[in-house]
């Protein structure tokens, strides 16, 4: 489709929110100076901390509310606890968290098997959508990956025979 000349004055809503005062604009500091008083506001009630909540060392406490999605556990949990010894300003905080996320994926698979659940990887990966809307390219990609796995297998098995 070609780009056509646009007469902006005919566009619905043109200029409806135009305001010379909108620069500088949000987000900007309102000179309430509330935060200059420090961490002194009337805090909301504290949600009971009855699960393990890791909190940033850049704050003194757990926030008044927090989420209860999976708390740290297993090896990934150990890595996360290590990460939270460092500030958000440190790669020693974020890189272990990324590692923990990858370890957690393996833990998730192990947990599934322990519960007798064999994960349906094709379904979890949403391959049905690929099959429905992108079949040709999807097949090409799968055949390519299959070939690469087979080649890798052949190379490894050849090397092990030599050894």
């Amino acid at each position: 489709m070609e780009n056509k000349p646009i007469d902006y004055k005919n566009i619905t809503g043109w200029g409806v929110d135009a305001d010379p005062k909108n620069d500088p604009t949000y987000p900007m500091k309102y000179r309430t100076d509330e935060e200059q008083k420090g961490y002194t506001w009337d805090r909301p009630a504290q949600q009971p901390v009855n699960i393990e909540v890791l909190h940033s060392i850049e704050r003194p406490n757990v926030s008044a509310v927090f989420g209860t999605a999976p708390p740290p556990q297993g090896l990934s949990g150990q890595i996360r606890r290590f990460a939270f010894r460092y500030s958000e300003s440190s790669f020693a905080h974020w890189l272990p968290l990324i590692l923990a996320d990858r370890v957690n994926v393996v833990e998730g698979l192990v947990d599934d098997f322990k519960r007798g659940h064999v994960p349906n990887l094709a379904a979890e990966l949403g391959w049905k959508a690929e099959w429905k809307h992108n079949r040709k390219n999807f097949l090409k990609k799968m055949i390519g990956r299959g070939f690469m796995i087979y080649a890798l297998y052949k190379v490894l098995s050849h090397n092990s025979k030599k050894a």
Binding site: W14, R43, P44, A45, A64, F66, E88, A123, G126, K132
Partner: protein, 384 residues
């Protein structure tokens, strides 16, 4: 209840989980009636956001019906249909008082840069999200807003994030009548940013992306000029040429960490995770804006760092504004725009799927299949 469950990069399933509980006196439990997959959910889905734990329910764009209330919630009643902003905000801290509702200090223990966000990793507070039948909504007196009578639920669900984010992108750009605005990204947020740029009086709106079907859509919807960066030798040079070699008054990054267009950025940002995603759009935006111009960032990046030409920000004297959308602040104005017929957000919805097909929805959205722009999930408990 049924809910999505993250299993690892590119893997999501829908499974039975416990019904959420009231854990704080200001909590509500909401039965979800619509939930979107957001472009920023793709950063989680692809494993780009640190501390995304297996078993987390995603989803920060949802509306629903109040089912239960904690004893300290006074502004809502059971049965109310509510828009739930994606920011979890206490309304009391020094930052909420400055209307920085995306930066609440009492909703995220794990990180201080950002406030709590539903279903957006432990880096955003560790909350389960709304791609589920039911969801716990903290500070229910502060964030949620009763859906005005007559407002289409499909419009309402887009008011939880994408519409205010697009609006705030244009607002933060400080657009003045006649300004040339360049928006990188023709996803839902970029589309909305293009639309709203006119509301602030833009004289020219240009959108850059690489997906023809999205460029076609935004050309008609905004309306605006739209160009495929794959057909441009260099998008920055193109912007310079088309602005009489000055650069745009305003550039908006509406892409974030999942950008395409630079092999180096994609390898270091998305494959090797050496930076917090691929900052291609941000790089182009910095270099395309004119000296003394304004750069507005609403594309989401991870918390580590990115390779962008900071020296050019300095040398060109660019003003940079960025934040998560302050949804609560913008809702009254945006609802008025919808009610008065200036914008129809629901037109960007291309796919409606049952919650049970969330994995296919994610795949379709991530791989840009079937001309997907905005997928909406309908949980079985929606009953509407």
């Amino acid at each position: 209840m049924l809910a999505t469950s993250y299993r690892g990069p590119f893997r999501v399933r829908v499974e039975q989980k416990p019904y959420p509980e009231i854990l704080h006196p200001q909590d509500a439990i909401v039965r979800v009636t619509r939930s979107c997959i957001c472009g920023s959910d793709l950063h989680l889905y692809t494993g780009l956001v640190p501390d995304t734990r297996v078993g987390t329910t995603f989803g920060h764009e949802f509306i629903g019906v109040v089912e239960e209330l904690g004893p300290e919630v006074h502004n809502l009643k059971v049965g109310d249909q509510v828009i739930v902003p994606f920011n979890i905000a206490c309304g009391k801290c020094a930052f909420c008082k400055q209307e920085l509702y995306g930066n609440c200090h009492e909703s995220n223990p794990q990180a201080t840069a950002v406030g709590g966000i539903y279903g957006y990793s432990h880096t955003a507070g560790g909350y389960h999200g709304g791609q589920a039948e039911y969801v716990r909504v903290p500070y229910a007196d502060v964030g949620p807003m009763v859906i005005p009578e007559g407002l289409d639920p499909d419009d309402a669900v887009l008011l939880t994030d994408v519409v205010p984010t697009g609006y705030q992108a244009a607002e933060m750009a400080g657009i003045q009548p006649g300004d040339t605005v360049v928006i990188f990204g023709a996803g839902p947020v970029g589309i909305m940013a293009a639309k709203f740029s006119w509301f602030f009086g833009a004289g020219r709106v240009i959108v850059i992306d690489h997906l023809e079907y999205r460029l076609d859509f935004v050309r008609k919807y905004a309306p605006c000029e739209a160009y495929n960066f794959k057909s441009l030798e260099d998008p920055v040079v193109f912007i310079k040429k088309t602005t009489d070699w000055m650069g745009a008054d305003v550039c908006i990054d509406a892409v974030g960490a999942d950008a395409s267009g630079s092999t180096m950025q994609s390898i270091t940002g998305k494959k090797l995770l050496l930076q917090a995603g691929a900052a291609t759009a941000l790089h182009w935006a910095i270099n395309s804006v004119k000296k003394g111009g304004i750069l507005s960032i609403v594309g989401v990046y991870g918390p580590t760092g990115n390779l962008v030409p900071v020296g050019n920000i300095l040398n060109k004297g660019i003003t940079v504004r960025a934040n998560q959308a302050s949804v609560k602040r913008l809702l009254p104005k945006l609802i008025k725009h919808i009610q008065e017929g200036r914008v129809s957000p629901k037109d960007i919805i291309t796919h409606r799927l049952p919650l049970e097909e969330a994995a296919e929805g994610y795949r379709m959205f991530a791989a840009k299949l079937d001309n997907c722009i905005k997928p909406v999930l309908i949980p079985p408990a929606a009953k509407v």
